[in-house]
Amino acid sequence: MTTVQGQVELVVASGKGGVGKSTLTSTIALVLAKHGYRMVAADTDAEAPNLHLALGVNTWDTVEDYLEGRIAYIREDKCTQCGVCAEVCVYGAVEVVNGKHRINPYICEGCLTCSLACPEKAIRYRFKIKAGEIRVARRTRYGFPLVSGEITPGRPNSGKLVTEVKNKAKEILGGDGIVLIDAAAGIGCQVISSLTGAKIGVLVAEPTPASLSDLKRIHTLTRHFMIAPMLVINKYDINEEFVSEIEKYARENNIPIIAEVPYDDNVPKALSQLKPLVEAYPNSPASKAMIEAAEYIATEVFPDWKKWWSKYKPKKPAPYIPIIK
């Protein structure tokens, strides 16, 4: 067993989804396990968790309900059908069914507005709504445990669910080791929640203008949290000219590029087969490139991660300027 100092979080992030995060994270997980590191994998991309599919996990040892938030409902005995609630709800959650006003629980976010505006004080709330699930596989085929979060269909995204998934993962690991996190996609609260506490970041980008702009945004976040980042460029051959734009950004910001992965048909194929890419197609071009990235992490970043972190950490935390306009 290769030991690392302390419990260290490594987060794989990309901004918007669809750039190949899960396949890369699964490759890193397998290679770290092969090198004998003590670790746990956590999928915090709760809107579309794929890591378990990329690792070939299809049964869970435990599934816990995650409860959060509130949903409004109208007390029929007090309602005068005045319709004020329908006018004020910005989500359009109030519907009229058979002449009666009713709040659609699939749309309501529980914001308080309708209950504040209702002249009859006829609106109440249900609490402890099932907003998601936390699933645990205590021992994947590769030896390490996997914790995966998923949002219940129809509910809004949640930063707290991400926190709970990470906490569960750290609890299961208990003690020194690597917490490998597949970050949430997007830029909201759930992404911030994925990143806090991490020391090392693997950023993934595609050579498109949209992906570069996502990369800059996620990089600003990592700079804010003093996370030392490295970069993987995925599907580089879909636009080789734009790759140099990304390389330029990485160079200017002292981000080491640890692999450039070609587009590879075998990636979705492996996912369909519920097998990790490096197991299903070990010699495919994407496999080889991702393994190169994972080997870098397993031998250059770990086990002495503090040294690597000191070398690549941001010089000082990025200040946050709230967007006013």
Partner: protein, 311 residues
């Protein structure tokens, strides 16, 4: 339910790229030939709309701003009581004791709870900020035309439901015949808002484990909201689909259509042409035509027999 369209059909499909925009845009082209009282296609994928790209349209007819409420606080009236801070669900308002509150624009969802709770009425009712934009295009095809209403959200904004609702309302106001909705990607409450009031929901999936998982998520929402549904299995032939069919049965899906995988599709896409125009004899085009025909017949009742041509 606001008046406007006579019928609403939503096309949705979960998170992954199953092909809902592909199906929605091709259906719009095929149906525009059959619906005589107007077709509006609403692209509610506000984070990254692409129906205008798939249809190869030029500049929009107009662009309007999506405005949402933003609390403008009258500091002369504000007593720093802190009620707005407590009422704010998203944590967008903070206040130092004795000082007026500060609002984080990007965290504010525009819900107006602060406006209603303020005992001094110190928050203006008409304060606004721009959340995104709605672009309206006229799409001309073979002498027939339909309108495309496309919503986007400004960079850095996290909260999509208000933009989805605003774009859909705008499309509903414009529509007098059929409103076809491309809900965009997702399985959250933004999708629920996008499919609201649908007469029929078309769930697009593909024969892969991800497609199966997305299908289940979508069907949970659709059946929970009590709407009718059909399923379209896109890229039929690339994998097993027995579980998809079984799942559809479980959720009371009324019909299942299959669009065969076709390598021509990406070619059509790169030319900004729907496949039903680029390669009308391709099996995928034929399957889409069958779907469109059946849909037109299904909607005859709502749109009126005169509203449907050559069904």
């Amino acid at each position: 339910m606001p008046s406007g369209p006579k019928a609403i059909v939503s096309v949705t499909g979960g998170k992954g790229g199953t092909g809902k925009s592909f199906v929605a845009t091709n259906l719009a082209v095929l149906l525009s030939e059959r619906i005589s009282n107007g077709l509006v296609l609403a692209d509610l994928d506000v984070e990254a709309p692409n129906d205008h790209i798939l249809l190869g349209v030029g500049d929009p007819l107009n662009v309007i701003e999506i405005e949402i409420f933003f609390p403008k606080i009258d500091y002369k009236k504000c007593t720093s009581c802190g009620a707005c801070v407590k009422a704010c669900d998203t944590g967008a308002i903070i206040m130092a004791q004795g000082r007026p509150p500060f609002v984080f624009p990007r965290l504010c969802s525009g819900c107006m709870a602060c406006y209603y709770v303020c005992p001094e009425k110190a928050i203006a009712r008409d304060g606004k900020r721009v959340l995104g934009y709605i672009r309206t295009y006229r799409v001309e095809r073979n002498g027939k035309s339909f309108m495309l209403v496309s919503g986007t959200i400004r960079e850095g904004e996290e909260h999509t439901p208000p933009a989805i609702v605003a774009t859909k309302r705008h499309a509903m106001n414009m529509s007098r015949g059929l409103l076809l909705v491309d809900t965009g990607a997702g399985t959250g409450n933004g999708i629920s808002a996008a499919i609201q009031y649908s007469d029929l929901v078309i769930a697009v999936t593909e024969p892969t484990p991800l497609g199966l998982h997305d299908l289940e998520s979508i069907l949970k929402i659709v059946s929970g909201m009590g709407y009718r549904s059909w399923v379209v299995i896109n890229r039929h032939g690339i994998g097993p689909e027995e579980e998809h069919v079984e799942l559809a049965k479980q959720y009371g899906v009324e019909r299942i259509y299959r669009i065969p995988y076709s390598p021509i599709v990406p070619r059509a896409y790169s030319r900004g042409m729907p496949i039903v125009e680029y390669a009308p004899d391709d099996p995928a085009s034929k399957a889409l035509e069958e779907l469109a025909r059946d849909l037109a017949v299904e909607l005859e009742g709502k749109l009126g027999v005169a509203g449907v041509v050559g069904a």
